[in-house]
């Protein structure tokens, strides 16, 4: 009963200060929203990778695949079955269609092992029979059925809820036709319990692969999701600053009330208990609002995330959110946990609150110095840790440790730096008012430092990410020009079609060169890798973006002795120039020397380039459908039009369209990062506002004497505003070098670990000015209301500053 009375008394405070209540709730909700929004995006994407990996029991069943990773003849399957192996055949591949490709999975339901999971066809014998008998059925996720329904080149579609998007499961007879792979198989599902070694006749060409709990997609996209998580966490931390300030403010204001309650006989235990209860209640409300907002953020960002995952990794993530109840619970839990963490200090002070107010501690300067020294030492320790992670660490987590350490150390150092600047200023000051100004600035610093730290972090990360994105954009654009040097790129429906097109092209005088882009997919030390064959041509020699090269690399590659290797692959496998890499070919292992390393941005898979004749000699089954054409640039558009008219089945695209497409994918990749960045800055602004509000109440004690000595309220308000702007500007200046350091960590450490490529950094001073402006604007907006309140403060309020109420 008594607890209820205490609670009602405590809650009365919020009724009188609705804006503070709103700030607290908004801060907590925003922090929760950003965090759970990012988690939702990750969860959604991961769930669809898992779904993709689990299709046909890929997560539990071993498979038999060709040693070279290519498709293999049906006869191998029959031979294994005839040797008593319980295997079931699968053909899979991408079917190119006008509106993008579709993954086709062909299965043989007759031999499909039960562990391959069930095909959810729905009720009714009719549909089941249809799957196996012409015109057959294609199973697909409901959204895919909605998108592809009625397509002429596909069997009738039926819904199956468990499938990933843009994936069709069809009978193997249908898949063979759709994928134009008669008599070929991609892999065999192996029923559990088979422990024999493969028959000798097949052992050279086939191998058994253990089930993969995580698919390639999971591994390849790991870095993408870790990036998102890091940004989500940053936003959350910045959001907690708001909560900290709001709770601190409330505590300061309620101190007399708390003392009164304690004096009335409420125990410290009960008081703190009720405060915890109050806080948890508020956090639940804010958390609920936060997860709802997080859902909204995720839903609005998901199309971009899905598009960039698809563009970058070929991952198929549904465009609509479906989240497990655990996600909602986790969002609310992190809200409560965050609130308790941010309130720990205030709660501790409530617990230990002395019944009688001690004399106002005038020795704040000493206390501040002590605090700053402590923070400085902590910053040094954390900075040393970050440095150690940089030097000795390896992997993406170490990269983020460097980043986190750097940011935290810088944030902790910020008050010392600002204090230093302010005391330097004070030393130069002569007039009393100016001296007071500097000194007061330092006094204010303690209360504002957390908000300024939040601002520093938000600004620095903005500078860092902005620098990285723009550096990447500039590099990428130049790189695209090098990589897409040919004017026209085309893909025929099949090898015969490509042959026909080649003949047709030979009769066109404007075609200066016809370059095959033939490739096979393989695996190198268990990583997916693309092996491309190219014909020696100035197009490559003059343009290809080589990072490092041996002398006469091109001649040696053209002679079939060596290969070009992409930067990602070289980093992943630790390959240096002159080393030998062994490619698994159907004709047996093929050792080639690494003659050069080239940049291959945006490609999660490793790439190897070899002479096209060497490729076809070792991989007779190579995909021969793609060609690049060198034509006079002005003739390209007309040639594409003619090509499309002459060969309706051929996809022809000119260089400019391809570049546009690549740039679009690129832009979408960073949409999420940029959006989170903007939100983080907004959160930092709210934090600053809360802190200033907190201080404006506390500072009446400091300002009242000045007012009493004749400084007008208007002037005082202007001074307060000026100080807020100056501190923000100082913070922004500090954020600049920190931001560049962040950019360096991002490009030289995190990108290399996450994606396998290193970027040159370019500096964009225009961006810095914008950011400085944004920092000042944020500070201005945040300081506006407290200053306005001060200006409109009644003399009575100011007089109360002397009444020593506290």
């Amino acid at each position: 009963m008594r607890a209820l009375v205490v609670l009602r008394t405590l809650l009365a405070h919020w009724r009188r200060h609705p804006v503070e209540l709103a700030t607290l709730l908004v801060g907590l909700a925003v922090a929760t929203a950003l965090w759970s929004g990012v988690q939702a995006l990750n969860a959604q994407a991961r769930a669809s990778y898992d779904r993709a990996a689990a299709v046909l029991g890929g997560d539990v069943l071993s498979t038999v695949v060709a040693a070279d990773g290519q498709r293999f003849p049906l006869e191998d399957y029959v031979a294994l079955r005839r040797a008593g192996w319980k295997v079931s055949p699968v053909i899979e591949g991408d079917m190119r269609r006008a509106d993008g490709s579709v993954r086709v999975l062909g299965v043989d339901p007759v031999t499909l092992p039960p562990a391959a999971g069930s095909l959810d066809i729905g009720e009714g014998a009719e549909r089941l029979t249809q799957f196996l008998t012409p015109p057959n059925l294609a199973l697909a996720a409901p959204e895919t059925v909605a998108r592809l329904g009625g397509a002429q080149d596909l069997p009738p579609l039926a819904e199956s809820a468990d499938l990933p998007p843009d994936t069709l499961v069809v009978d193997i007879a249908v898949a063979e036709r759709l994928l134009d792979a008669p008599g070929r198989l991609s892999r065999l599902l192996l029923a559990p319990g088979e422990t024999r070694a493969l028959p000798a006749a097949l052992a050279g060409r086939l191998r058994v692969e253990a089930p993969r709990e995580t698919g390639d997609l999971d591994r390849l996209t790991d870095s993408f999701h870790l990036n998102l998580t890091a940004f989500g966490f940053l936003s959350f931390v910045v959001g907690l600053f708001i909560v900290y300030s709001a709770i601190g403010l409330a505590f300061e204001q309620r101190k007399p009330m708390l003392r009164t309650l304690r004096a009335c006989g409420v125990s410290a235990r009960m008081l703190t208990g009720v405060m915890v209860g109050e806080l948890v209640g508020l956090a639940l409300v804010a958390g609920l609002a936060g997860v709802v907002a997080g859902y909204a953020i995720a839903a609005s960002l998901l199309p971009d995330v899905a598009a960039s995952l698809r563009g970058l990794y070929g991952a198929r993530v549904p465009g609509s959110l479906s989240l497990a109840p655990a996600w909602w619970a986790a969002g609310i839990a992190i809200s409560v946990g965050g609130a308790l963490f941010a309130a720990a200090g205030s709660l501790w002070r409530a617990w230990t609150l002395p019944l009688l107010a001690p004399a106002q501690p005038q020795a704040w300067l000493q206390a501040q110095r002590r605090g700053l020294r402590l923070q400085g030492a902590l910053a040094a320790a954390i900075g040393a840790g970050a440095l150690a992670a940089l030097v000795f660490g390896d992997g993406l987590v170490a990269g983020f440790a460097v980043m986190g350490g750097l940011l935290l150390a810088a944030a902790l150092l910020l008050p010392s730096v600002l204090a230093g600047v302010l005391s330097l200023g004070a030393r130069g000051a002569r007039r009393p008012m100016v001296q007071w100004l500097w000194a007061d600035g330092r006094q204010q610093l303690s209360g504002l430092s957390l908000a300024l730290m939040a601002l520093l972090l938000a600004l620095a990360v903005n500078v860092g990410v902005g620098t990285m994105v723009d550096s990447f954009r500039r590099t990428f654009t130049g790189w695209l020009d090098q990589r897409l040097a040919a004017e026209v790129y085309l893909t025929a429906a099949d090898a015969e079609g490509a042959q026909a097109v080649a003949l047709w092209l030979d009769a066109r005088p404007e075609v200066r060169a016809r370059l095959p882009i033939w490739n096979v997919e393989g695996r190198l030390r268990d990583w997916p890798v693309e092996i491309y064959g190219f014909r020696d041509d100035p197009t490559y020699r003059d343009n290809w973006p080589l990072i490092a090269t041996l002398p006469e690399a091109w001649d040696r590659v053209a002679a079939g002795e060596a290969a070009l290797v992409s930067e990602q692959l070289a980093r992943r496998l630790n390959l240096a120039l002159g080393e030998t890499v062994t490619l698994p070919s159907p004709q047996g292992p093929w050792p080639v020397e690494v003659a050069a390393i080239y940049s291959d941005y945006g490609n999660p898979e490793g790439q190897v380039m070899v002479a096209v004749d060497a490729l076809t000699a070792r991989w007779p089954e190579v995909d021969r459908r793609r060609l690049a054409l060198r034509v006079a640039p002005e003739a390209a558009a007309a040639l594409v039009t003619d090509l499309r008219a002459a060969f309706p089945g051929v996809e022809a695209v000119d260089q400019r369209a391809l570049k546009d497409l690549s740039k679009r994918i690129f832009e979408r990749t960073f949409t999420v990062t940029v959006a989170l960045n903007a939100l983080t800055l907004a959160v930092a602004g709210i934090a600053l506002l809360t802190s200033l509000l907190t201080l404006s109440n506390l500072r009446l004690v400091q300002l009242a004497p000045l007012w009493a000595m004749g400084v007008t309220r208007r002037r005082l308000a202007a001074i307060e505003m000026g100080k807020a702007l100056a501190l923000a500007a100082l913070t922004a200046l500090a954020a600049l070098p920190l931001g560049l350091a962040v950019a360096w960590v991002l490009t030289a450490v995190i990108n290399v670990q996450a994606f396998g490529w290193k970027l040159p950094i370019f500096l964009f001073p225009g961006q810095w000015l914008t950011l400085l402006g944004m920092a000042l604007a944020t500070a201005f907006l945040a300081a506006l209301w407290p200053a306005w309140r001060l200006r409109r403060a009644s003399p009575l309020t100011l007089l109360q500053g002397f009444s020593n109420e506290r």
Partner: protein, 349 residues
């Protein structure tokens, strides 16, 4: 809905609608029809008949170990046409094959089952020389006849390899191979080779046992062997001590009395079709098997040939827990004649 269920529906689409055991009672639309006279011809008819909807190669063997222990072995290959159109090549074939193998001892009945698509060579039947196979199970002849075969199959917990041999010609069932299955005239083409002598080896419970005995091969194909009201059958193949062989079956109907038929095969191989009123088949002992009650003991009478015997299973639990479950196991015969044989019972719910 599991893939297995899918095959079930494909193989026997009418089964879910309750028409006869395993859908054998549904219409024959589009498939080749069974008409009299049969005009069977060998070795052609040892091979597959893809125009007909269903067909089987069905071998059962009563075996004895050197110490007198009794065993039973079953090797069966079923073929089913998924659609009446002519067989296409490769995966598009439309034919589906199913293999059942079993090995019975007095206290265990071990079963294996496997499936295959037609058109790719995983399963099939060839003549010249004769060869029927699915996965690593096979029934292989040395020439285009079926007088000498090697029969082998393997499950998770058993294996056998048997040589079966006879000098007898195949025996045509019914009227020269045209076997009527109901009063309404449903029929199949049906011949048997009941005269095999067997020698071979079985592997079970970690031991290898040399065995000898007798085997019976049934060949049957049709597009609609059961009438719509017929729910299952009880089928006997008997090797009598005096060298005669008897085939009897009883097709149960939901609305009519059972339809009885059979063939008395003299020791020289001369068949005499038995009319319904010449046969009496009476269940005398029931046992609970796989959650249902089955008549595992029978009284069999064919008075015109002086036959009045009781049959008893080697193992009453000879349950084939396959996709379409049924009872199939070795039996012993006592009474007016002694002998051994096989009993098959289908359609008991």
């Amino acid at each position: 809905m599991s893939a297995r269920w899918l095959i079930f529906l494909l193989l026997f689409p009418a089964a879910v609608q309750g028409q006869g055991y395993a859908g054998l009672g549904s219409g024959a639309g589009g498939y080749a029809a069974v008409t009299a006279p049969a005009a069977l011809e060998f070795p052609r008819d040892h091979g597959a008949h893809p125009g007909f909807r269903i067909e089987w190669w069905y071998l059962t063997a009563n075996l004895k170990g050197e110490d007198g222990e009794d065993f039973g072995a079953q090797w069966t290959l079923f073929r089913q046409a998924g659609r009446p159109e002519p067989e296409a090549e490769g995966w598009a074939s439309g034919q589906i094959w199913m293999g059942h193998a079993a090995l019975t001892t007095a206290d265990a009945h071990r079963v294996a089952e496997t499936f295959a698509r037609g058109g790719i060579g995983q399963a099939g039947v060839e003549t010249a020389p004769f060869r029927a196979w699915i996965d690593d199970w096979e029934m292989t002849g040395t020439d285009d006849g079926i007088g000498a075969l090697t029969v082998a199959a393997r499950g998770e917990d058993f294996a056998y390899r048997l040589k079966v041999r006879t000098d007898h010609e195949p025996v045509l069932q019914g009227v020269a191979g045209f076997s009527v299955k109901s009063e309404a005239g449903q029929a199949s083409y049906y011949y048997s080779q009941p005269f095999y002598a067997v020698s071979g080896e079985i592997e079970v419970e970690g031991r290898r046992v040399a065995v000898t005995g007798r085997a019976w091969l049934d060949r049957e194909w049709s597009s609609q062997p059961l009438a719509e009201d017929q729910s299952g059958w009880d089928w006997f193949s008997l090797h009598l001590e005096d060298g005669a062989k008897v085939m009897l079956f009883r097709l149960r109907s939901e609305t009519e009395p059972p339809f009885l038929s059979g063939t008395w095969i003299a020791p020289d191989g001369t068949p005499t079709p038995l009319a319904p009123d010449q046969i009496a088949m009476t269940p005398v002992a029931e046992t609970e098997v796989a959650g249902r009650r089955l008549p595992v003991g029978w009284r069999i009478e064919v008075p015109d040939f002086g036959l009045a015997v009781d049959t008893e299973p080697l193992n009453a639990q000879s349950w084939m827990g396959t996709l379409f479950p049924y009872w199939e196991g070795p039996i012993s015969v006592t009474g007016s004649h002694d002998g051994r044989g096989y009993l098959e019972m289908t359609g008991y719910e």
